[in-house]
Symmetry: C2
């Protein structure tokens, strides 16, 4: 089975539909890539296009996206709520089936070198692809944004890009290239209008308050439904799986005498998260992906490819 890579470029353009369409087309035009999702926000003035494929076409499509974004977007005329440093601002590579985070670090570095060498746009590496500990967090890399960093790189060597520079591209800024695990956006609705219950449960489960690792959680009100919600980002579902979070929220809610009304995924989740839950709830310790007919087919097909 080929390693499958997801790529989630964030563009500093959330208003001009023709430009966003053109960026999507540039990606979709590379054979072997599939567009999975696209969202734009006018206030943020930002779009996110999610696509996936084998490593080679994904890197190729990422390069074309960086190139076209630099042609279409001039950060000197960009104002939005969301912080940004580049025309194509953030470029994470994410491992899916058959791929590892290490594969994605290597791809991020390969893409980064091509972005500088072929397109002349400086590159910062973040998260798993970071070359320096102070660049592990995206927020740290982007601090000061385009306008601030444009000045800072002249005064402070530690602010300069990992590749290229030392100054930023005059209109396209720099691309922040990284590798991270897949993120699952997952919400659990509680059958109560009491926002305090959702907030207390969110505090108990989130990593920042000593709860589960790789879990971000907020308690939100859902007034139209007369319910409240524990809204979560699971940033490493293998460390803290979806079903572990569900069971714990269910247990904590029961302490208040409250039931889970239902749950929802925002966007997509990887197959492995589904299979981990299946094995857990049915107490199937020996269950593996190859027990699923359709997955066995894929394994068989890729074997005949060799």
């Amino acid at each position: 089975m080929h390693p499958l890579i997801e790529c989630v470029p964030n563009f500093s353009e959330g208003r001009d539909l023709a430009r966003i369409d053109a960026l999507e087309s540039a990606i979709a035009g590379v054979p072997g890539t599939v567009i999975l999702d696209r969202t734009s926000d006018r206030d943020h003035h930002r779009s996110v296009i999610t696509f996936a494929g084998d490593p080679q076409p994904v890197v190729e499509a990422a390069l074309r996206a960086v190139s076209l974004a630099a042609q279409l977007i001039d950060l000197n005329h960009h104002r939005g709520v969301h912080p940004r440093l580049g025309a194509l601002d953030v470029l994470p590579f994410v491992p899916l089936a058959g791929a590892t985070l290490e594969d994605c670090v290597a791809l991020a570095h390969r893409a980064g070198h091509r972005i500088w060498n072929e397109l002349g746009i400086p590159v910062y590496f973040y998260e798993a692809a970071a070359l320096r500990p102070d660049r592990l967090q995206l927020e740290h890399v982007r601090r000061g944004q385009f306008e601030g960093l444009r000045e800072a790189v002249l005064l402070d060597e530690t602010k300069q890009p990992d590749l290229g520079g030392p100054v930023l591209h005059p209109t396209a800024g720099a691309v922040i290239v990284g590798a991270r695990k897949v993120l699952i956006a997952y919400n659990i609705d509680l059958a109560t209008p009491d926002i305090e219950v959702a907030k207390q449960i969110a505090r108990k489960i989130r990593a920042s308050n000593g709860g589960f690792p790789a879990v971000k959680a907020l308690g939100l009100a859902l007034p139209s439904r007369n319910q409240v919600q524990v809204s979560m980002n699971l940033t490493d579902f293998e460390q803290t799986p979806v079903h572990v979070v569900y069971d714990e929220v269910s247990r904590l809610a029961q302490r208040y005498g409250i039931e889970i009304a239902g749950s929802e995924l925002i966007g997509l989740l990887p197959r492995k998260a589904v299979e981990l839950a299946f094995a857990h709830y049915l107490k199937l310790p020996r269950f593996r992906s190859g027990d699923v007919i359709e997955q066995r087919m894929e394994i068989g097909r890729s074997r005949t490819d060799v």
Copy 2:
């Protein structure tokens, strides 16, 4: 997405490895088919090869298997514990992702006509592909086996094949071609040595005693593990899903104060069974296959095929 078809030919040969290998090779040699599983039983003198693929190559591979089985196997010299009517005895077509039972009925009929027209071996249709109500059940069609039916067709028109005949093939008998839903073989182990508990639970859940539809169940002892087992065949997992059976066995066992020790799949199960359980346990009413990244990829890829 192309409809994916599983085919599970049963051969009257379970001892001669070279012959079984040749039968497997005949199937695997058709481009577009993938062998999923193979089991042989010396006492039964019978082998089952499970394969899958798009409709066209699956039918082609089935034809080659029937042809080679007729060349290799002479039922006049075949003695085994398991009843059989043909060299290739039973040929069910099973709908997987993107396929319906109706698709498989049509394939079974197409394959049946080719078996008679091109290979000269008579055909009976059974289960969903049956043309007569007394042929819905495989056991009814096969009653009397090769030796008995060979005589019966001469005396009783109602015993004659649906296609070809009226007499059986002198060495290869007849092929019983059908369409059925995928079968999930699933066992739940109980943390007790009390076989009566397993037997009582099996009686409560199985269709034949008024339990869940499409569930066959037996209580078995597992002396080496000091446990007992509810051993099941789920013949329509969309009617009675795996998780429904698990939850009910768990509930019934708790009445005896007994826990489920674990469960196991014998062979494979379809992806949809996994997804149905996921949506159930996480109370995800809006969950669908397209929420899984890898499945979204497949949908996207097949879209670009068009």
